[in-house]
Amino acid sequence: MTGPFKSRSILPGFGLSLGFTLAYLGLIVLVPLSAAFLKVSGMSLHDFFAAVATPRVLAAYRISFGASLAAAAVNMVFGLIVAWVLVRYSFPGKKIIDALVDLPFALPTAVAGIALTALYSRNGWIGRWLLPLGYEVAFTRLGIFVALTFIGLPFVVRTLQPVLMELEPEMEECAASLGANRWQTIVRVILPEIAPSLLTGFALAFARALGEYGSVVFISGNMPMRTEIVPLLIITKLEQFDYRGATAIAVVMLIASFLLLLLINLLQKWSRRFQAI
């Protein structure tokens, strides 16, 4: 339609819904995050770096980012296997296993922390067998890694499942009929297809692990410089009425998380270039 009248969309209410979307996101996401930046803006650059670059804070960054990355990486591998098994095979108890994947989602994180601590402590069901082998899990960095792996698994599995369902087995058969061996089928046919969602699952698991507090405080031992994660350090700072220091650390986490997620998104975009269909 031409003339002075605007054409009407088939789906009405674009302006209203966009306004609602922006207002909602602004209130729920942008305003709280801006408040953190506003709080920090009152600090001088020297004070800011003094707050975020002490040995204790740097150690907490190392532990939080290191354990989160390691847990997300492990979940990427084993989450793929779990998702593959759940999508490709039929076996008794499949639905129970499928439901079990969601358990870390549904379980309160404190319960997860208590359960893991009970399992992996020196006298726990698993911990007592690991101790003679020289592995101590509870109250060590390894415990943090275990807790973060536990809470991150569903993010990878649930992200991959729909993509694997869409991926037809005929593609693998086709590759085999064209002379590809199993390894070539995985690397050149399957992985390029699932890479973007695999990275999405990794990013979600990583982001979730980075902010995790409830389960980690039970199993980590919370020892400064050794097993103290950033969220716990922020709580500790707040308890000491060091609100600015806590906010400065939170802002650094925010920026670092944002940059990492941006990097992962760019990687996703790059990996889509290799998709066959």
């Binding site: 003094a50 919370n222 020892m223 400064p224 308890e239 000491q240 060091d242 220091g245």
Partner: protein, 279 residues
């Protein structure tokens, strides 16, 4: 109980520190004393912000009387401390009515901040106020000093018990104010170590206590209260050393005596451990 006669003499009495409020042992928590403690604690928190050795690391939170509170804790990793370092826990303020011991332990934290070599190779946990809930509520003495850690109903003792199991301390050092009428400091040794060691010979020497009048006691046998009440479940058989300082002493002398004795104890303990390792 073995009692070693007191030695040393009193020192000139300096004026009382106005910053630290007096509390009568066994009485209720004075609001101004609680406020003074919080100010002192905040000052030490601020002091240790950038320290590479002393870290404020309160544990909790725990709920008491409908409120949420934390148990103040400072962690000290001496130079060259490692996971295999000897671990000691310092406890004070078992009663909100005895905040002088809390101030003394906070002053010791400040000393460790300034002179970190004093705890070379050691891992220390310092709990300046065990009765954090009592002070928060203004409650009278809750009897935490005599509480069994394994059967405790007080959330602070539950946290301490959990922390003890977790860290596996080799020893506990308790600071408390002696009942009125006591005029000398007392070092009391409890636990299995008390049966084997003479406290004045091994863990602190009378030659090192300087002018502070001091009496040594040993209480061998099982303990029904304090950290040793759960000693059987701990990874190491710990000792408990109680430093009891006369309530009548002015604040400055009280704090100086606590700091001096604790520092001498650390020196002796380090030397003792080094000798044992050499053997």
């Amino acid at each position: 109980m073995t009692v070693v006669p007191a030695r040393g003499s009193g020192r000139p009495v300096p004026p009382m520190n106005p910053h630290i409020a007096h509390t009568a042992a066994g009485g209720t928590v004075d609001a101004s004393a609680g406020e003074a403690f919080r100010e002192h604690l905040s000052a030490v928190y601020a002091l240790t912000q950038d320290s590479p050795h002393v870290f404020a690391s309160p544990i909790g939170p725990f709920a008491i009387g409908g409120r949420s509170a934390f148990l103040p804790r400072f962690v000290f990793f001496g130079p060259h401390a490692s996971d295999q370092s000897w671990r000691l826990a310092f406890l004070a303020g078992f009663s909100g009515a005895d905040l002088r011991s809390s101030h003394a332990l906070l002053a010791f934290v400040e000393r460790l901040f300034r002179e970190s070599d004093a705890g070379h190779g050691l891992h220390l946990a310092l709990f300046p106020l065990v009765d954090a809930g009592g002070v928060s509520l203004g409650a009278p003495d809750r009897g935490l000093a005599a509480g069994h850690w394994g059967r405790a109903h007080a959330p602070e003792l539950e946290l301490l018990e959990k922390d003890s199991r977790l860290q596996g301390y080799h020893g506990f050092i308790r600071i408390e104010s002696a009942p009125a009428g006591e005029s000398v400091a007392t070092l009391r040794m409890r636990g299995s170590a008390a049966e084997e060691l003479s406290p004045d010979l091994e863990l602190i020497s009378t030659d090192e206590t300087g002018p502070i009048p001091i009496r040594f006691e040993a209480c061998p046998g099982p303990a029904e209260s304090g950290p040793l009440s759960v000693a059987d479940d701990l990874p190491f058989a710990p000792f408990e050393l109680t430093l009891s300082l006369p309530s009548a002493w002015p604040d400055a002398i009280y704090q100086n005596a606590a700091g001096l004795l604790l520092q001498r104890f650390l020196w002796r303990y380090r030397a003792f451990q080094a000798y044992a390792q050499n053997l």
